[in-house]
Symmetry: D3
Amino acid sequence: MADSDRRQRGLDVRKQLWGDGDAPNLADPLIEVTIDHLFGDIWTRPGLALRDRSLITCATLVALGKEAQLKVHLKGLLNQGVSHQEVEEMMIHLAHYAGWPCAVNGIRVAREVFKEMA
Amino acid sequence: MADSDRRQRGLDVRKQLWGDGDAPNLADPLIEVTIDHLFGDIWTRPGLALRDRSLITCATLVALGKEAQLKVHLKGLLNQGVSHQEVEEMMIHLAHYAGWPCAVNGIRVAREVFKEMA
Amino acid sequence: MADSDRRQRGLDVRKQLWGDGDAPNLADPLIEVTIDHLFGDIWTRPGLALRDRSLITCATLVALGKEAQLKVHLKGLLNQGVSHQEVEEMMIHLAHYAGWPCAVNGIRVAREVFKEMA
Amino acid sequence: MADSDRRQRGLDVRKQLWGDGDAPNLADPLIEVTIDHLFGDIWTRPGLALRDRSLITCATLVALGKEAQLKVHLKGLLNQGVSHQEVEEMMIHLAHYAGWPCAVNGIRVAREVFKEMA
Amino acid sequence: MADSDRRQRGLDVRKQLWGDGDAPNLADPLIEVTIDHLFGDIWTRPGLALRDRSLITCATLVALGKEAQLKVHLKGLLNQGVSHQEVEEMMIHLAHYAGWPCAVNGIRVAREVFKEMA
Amino acid sequence: MADSDRRQRGLDVRKQLWGDGDAPNLADPLIEVTIDHLFGDIWTRPGLALRDRSLITCATLVALGKEAQLKVHLKGLLNQGVSHQEVEEMMIHLAHYAGWPCAVNGIRVAREVFKEMA
């Protein structure tokens, strides 16, 4: 695949997840790899729906306690049509697999997102 | 909810995920809490589909590197109709969020499961 | 056990750990599960003293780096009669099993708690 | 403190935890640091009982999923007079703070220890 | 960069780290991404020496407790000219930042590697 | 080794990493152990260069997500002559082994350090 195709596909996924917004700073090498490879090559692979990619990304971020990234990806998940109730249930469910603190922190982040997107 | 209802709902979820099998040893207190509370109270909550509960459980187990439990829950996930390709894509995707080793170990476990269920 | 008994036992444990305080918001489903199941069913199980449950909860929260929850549970631990010195020794000890950063962060949180409870 | 004192205190703690056994290979630098510093300097500090040091070490090893080390330290914990029931309750309790897989693996290791020490 | 260039650079890095060996199974999509992206795009980036990339990869694998991958990457590290003593010192050092169990397991893996490469 | 030697060597390492600064509060037992043992005994061991000790410490702190400690140790790493580019490459590299969120947080911390030291 030509590099320009990867770039465009990465920007398209980003738009599907979070809508129009500021252009990413592609002069930053980590952001460049994120757009070209992570979004352009990986998120666009066939075989797993975008909504499911969002869902497992959020579950992973809850389990790893990565709150800043969880906040971003929960917005993407809600933009795929996943409901507030589904997000809250995800946290209650994961309390039992990743431990209560991950869920307590996750539900706090989720409610911040609900407010910001209200 | 009466305790006998929780127990029955827990056993029903277990059957949906893994089919008929040996009866769980309910004299073991951790197994009792697992059937009555985790399966009976939590997995049966409305608001998140069983297939999605399976999916986020598997993602969490990949991220936390819990291979024995991943093996069990991948079987449940495949029994919900999720395909081999979706499972493999989940691992490639999560390589980028939980780190390459989680994905390499996860795909190895998945292929063991594919063989056992073939 | 009837649901009302679990609820009452959960509220009683909460009071033993943190004294009287605001009533928990039981309309929040994660809090409801916390009071009824985690406090009502688990913390009240016989076979392990409340003080030891507090102690291992705090050690786990240090190891997992969950500072907000550590703060809450350190208050409960001190309310069980564990001394400031025991808490500080716990951190120095765990530095060697969970890594220095967990202990440095843990001792910072502990000293915030010591001040708030002074 | 003279180096020979640290060494002796470390060997004494080791004996309290696990009884007489093979002499540690002090020509191995990691083992030397373990005996002299971790056992000799840290485990012997006043202000936290040996039994409590064992207990929080085991809780941490459950939370971090370090099964080989958990096996060793559970033996030390039982040798301090902690009961099988207390160990099993610790696992059920920690399931909720470190996640179910840590407890399931922990209780499996504990039962191996119970058998070996029977 | 053309895809064939990424592929070739990835295979070249692999050879530098582990010498000639079996050809990787590029029909496996995770291996394909590993060769083309992780080895071809990332390990070949200018600005950080191959030896340092190996070193920080090994430190990360020790900290995360990923023993199978640590074994592979320690071989690569030794092939960059890092000595057995440097590897053992890395483990003793990291005991203090990632916790003793990571170091104990890491040094065991390292000695297996030393034997296999002797 | 006499205790006063360990103390002096620990203070010397601290100075090499971070220059002159406030004297550490040696009445704080965790700081005392840090200076005497971690810096005095461990960081001064022969067999691994100070620059490499800094590098693997930073990699470990990225992987474990310990941002406060990463900030401190990145300053020490830059003071060993490691370049901004090497630090940024470390983060992009570790994104693939510890997961993207560790790298995103790590690069944010690094840029704060770059500014503070400019």
